[in-house]
Subunit: 330 residues, 2 copies
Amino acid sequence: MDVARRARVSLATASRVLSGSDYPVNDEMRQRVEAAANDLDYVPNAQARALVHGNPRTVGILVGDVGDPYFSEIVAGLQELATELQYLVMIVNTHRSIRHEVDAFRALRAQRVGIAIIAGSGLVDPRYEESMTVMLRSAHLARSATVVVGRHGLSTDVPSVAVDNAEAGRSIGRHLHGLGHRNVGVLAGSMDLNSTIDRIEGIRSVLGGGLQVLPVDPTRDGGWYGTGRLLEEHPGLTAVVGTADQMAIGAMVWLREHGIDVPGDVSVVGCNDIWVSRDLAPSLTTVRLPLREMGAAALRLGIEARNGVVSHVRLPVNLIVRASSGPARS
Amino acid sequence: MDVARRARVSLATASRVLSGSDYPVNDEMRQRVEAAANDLDYVPNAQARALVHGNPRTVGILVGDVGDPYFSEIVAGLQELATELQYLVMIVNTHRSIRHEVDAFRALRAQRVGIAIIAGSGLVDPRYEESMTVMLRSAHLARSATVVVGRHGLSTDVPSVAVDNAEAGRSIGRHLHGLGHRNVGVLAGSMDLNSTIDRIEGIRSVLGGGLQVLPVDPTRDGGWYGTGRLLEEHPGLTAVVGTADQMAIGAMVWLREHGIDVPGDVSVVGCNDIWVSRDLAPSLTTVRLPLREMGAAALRLGIEARNGVVSHVRLPVNLIVRASSGPARS
DNA sequence: GTGAAAGCGCTAACAT
DNA sequence: ATGTTAGCGCTTTCAC
């Protein structure tokens, strides 16, 4: 450490000053060290520091895709609290694939993050669940707190931030049913995701039979194409639901482009309530998830978990009725 | 390292097989090591590894706010290439504040990222510029490649990904001028940002006098409130420009809510072309920036810079004429 | 109050 | 082909 040399003190003294330890150090030397550090624009090596006493103030988050508003809102909520608490955030993309998710989690562990958050909604696949369980167990052994958000807890001793996806589905179902819709199409993004399955199950539990479920890309374009297919095959549909807002937006655009009135001819409902949903014309009826709060809650649970307290949070979902849904045409 | 003990080999041998070195190792021992690592679910400590030979495969990015679609698209572009190249991405939020930006950059340096990308558009403030220059210089000395994106290069020996913000402004100006607009209002997010200033200057260079510039929050809500103020004070305006799409969206909503037709009564133009702009009704006329490409280009330049090649990329901007702009009312 | 020395987990000489 | 050892940059006992 050449800061020490420049200040003509021992390494130990320099370290004591620079690491902000409350160790007593002569004022004169302290000043010398500070001056030297300043001159050299010294930035301590966080890796070396971490090597000696872990990385308590870093949090890693696994997301499906940072570009997806669902995830970027969660991350924004996390970031906000993280900044306040002086945590460093690392984000790893899984591109929604099993292989990537396990690898990405390894990467987080390799970085020895104090807290790891898994935000990608869990895949329903036995191989995946098994390797994830293994990872979680060993992460636990390595005293790294892991939190899952927006999906089933893989096991109850993993802290989790949950939203009631089934209830989200049911509230959409009830809303449409109340408006007289009996034939509704569902644009289902990523049919192998827990959250998608739960939402659809919720809708089905209310609407029963007349549900047409079409798996599509979980994107605006997926919704656009899917709506075309859905309406060509089932012209009797009076409503289209997207399991995420982007798909619902794609649906609205397709309908508009084909001269079909929303909600006069066909109602459209989304899920998640991303920021832009209220600004569309017509504004989108959707189910609001407290995305930013989910990100923040995950960090809180992670911190608790490091103190040995495992808890689970269930955040409420709310149907937001806007202009894109109306009575079924008769 | 207890993997070595469990496999009854020396540390060195274990390291050789686990670090994937191409060093020759007896097959039997190799298998023993692999088995042991597997049993223990061993995950190498990236920090320790980094300590011995740097962190070439990590890239840190400084953004104003991950929740902002402008940044999240850039990050998405970066992530995509990073995953392909096996880079780990760290994201640090600055919350658009000077203090945070310098601190955040320090955090990145402390992590010894191989490549640091500064995506927040530079503040026009002498103190800021000075401390930034100092940081860049010392980062350079520490052999950490730094790339700036979407702003003026602070100095020519820092690789940069630039977009011609002035040209973006001019193309908006020309478009509106051609449609007969002479009195236009500008919703200016963050007036202390280079990019905002350049864009406005571009617009002004074409439209000259009749420009009403109102500084607002660089958000949808900022645009919404700003539009109200702008139109109350200057009822003669025939067009409103947002220096970013979110503000233009806020403007469209305000106008719609007040029964003012877009583009019949007032035209609206944005900038950046975030994904949802084409899906609004009416769809938003805006200037397209290749955001994802900017993120990817930044990583490429960073890698080059590590090889001693400093280059600058200037990406094109394109006016996308959609439905929210039309002839000025007479 | 200060300094010397050990050690965090790993890799890369250097021997053997 | 395998094992021994020094050292990456820092913190922290432990003597002084």
